[in-house]
Symmetry: C2
Subunit: 218 residues, 2 copies
Amino acid sequence: MPEHAPSRVEQRKARTRAALIRAAQAFIAEGKTAVPILEITQAADVGMGTFYNHFETKEQLYQAAVENALDTFGALLDELTTGLDDPAQVFAQGFRLTGRLHRRHPELSKVLLHFGLELATSENGLAPRARRDIEAAVRAGRFTVGDTELAMVTVAGAVLGLAQLLHHQPERDDAAATDRVTEDLLHMLGLTAAEAHEICSRPLPDLDTTATGPDSVA
Amino acid sequence: MPEHAPSRVEQRKARTRAALIRAAQAFIAEGKTAVPILEITQAADVGMGTFYNHFETKEQLYQAAVENALDTFGALLDELTTGLDDPAQVFAQGFRLTGRLHRRHPELSKVLLHFGLELATSENGLAPRARRDIEAAVRAGRFTVGDTELAMVTVAGAVLGLAQLLHHQPERDDAAATDRVTEDLLHMLGLTAAEAHEICSRPLPDLDTTATGPDSVA
DNA sequence: CACATTGATGACGACATCGTCAGTTACGAG
DNA sequence: CTCGTAACTGACGATGTCGTCATCAATGTG
């Protein structure tokens, strides 16, 4: 039983699991959650019975797929916002980048949209990060918020509403729409309209680096 | 073919249809949309084959159920906001009453929550009313909104986020939470914080009048 | 009072999905 | 090289859901 040796067998298992998750994410992205398990395994190019080596039920697979996708994206966001001084800008940049996500990585966006508000109250994913950022900005005196949790309600709703809008209106400029909504939210959170506008006009780091699928296997 | 005579036969048909819709709403309220048709008909106390006299598919029934519920509530909102001078107050009162809805009529609230953002972009239901109210307030110079459609994104998201929150935290004061969110939104839409607070402190008409289920049959 | 029309009924055949399991393949240890 | 273990495989029986249809009940008509 090699403790530090992710040897062949384990690697194969991880690869298979990742293939299943990837396939599930693809189906979720198409809005088809009622897909037979057989179809999922075929899409993942594994045998039918293999599914049950990794998950008990379809829902379990979906849950794993969503958690994987959001954790990956959340980590990316954290990476891209390190080093910023202004907590308000950290929040704004996270929101703006999430808005950009919808066009750059529609599959992740659809996952977000499909599971919707479940994710807003979840302990994993983007919600806890947003809450953390808002609270930091409040402590720093940048935001004026009566109740952080209630502000989160609107912020989370706005994320999903924006995803929905961009999905239904492909012709709309996603960056402009996202920045506009971010601006509104910053104003709501206590910044002046002018300051909100200024922050949303600052340049953004690029999303196109890594990480869209399941965690690399080794 | 009696034009003005909803005679016995038609009344019976309408009653049966209403029973199906009511049963569907109950199941939706429990989050169970994958219920066998047989169960729905049993809950409605009608025969299995009867279902197909009224709807082609389960989705059709659900669609009818949702439209019915939201139109009923929307009409009620309109009724309760007639006679108000300030368009900003019309919007605020609509939002605040919708917030109250979640505790008073959980079944309607759950319907809202379950279908989520689909309803935000729908042509029927609450979204068009909210848009109408916002546009009226903008024309009257009460709101300052860069893009009405994008403001709608956040407002719709906030409605659903609030529903989710109140559903997961039954101990929370629904009126206080709703008014706080409304206040935030009014501030976002261009009112001063003080004015937003004042508007959300005004008394509200009572929701407890009619209309929670499908339209009365005659 | 007999007949026609419309809606309601529930049993039935067709179909799809599920989870299992007995057998196969790949890896690694002795 | 051989054997044991762990993962993979796909066919099969069991289960459950669907939509139809022949029949029944209720209402309205001549």
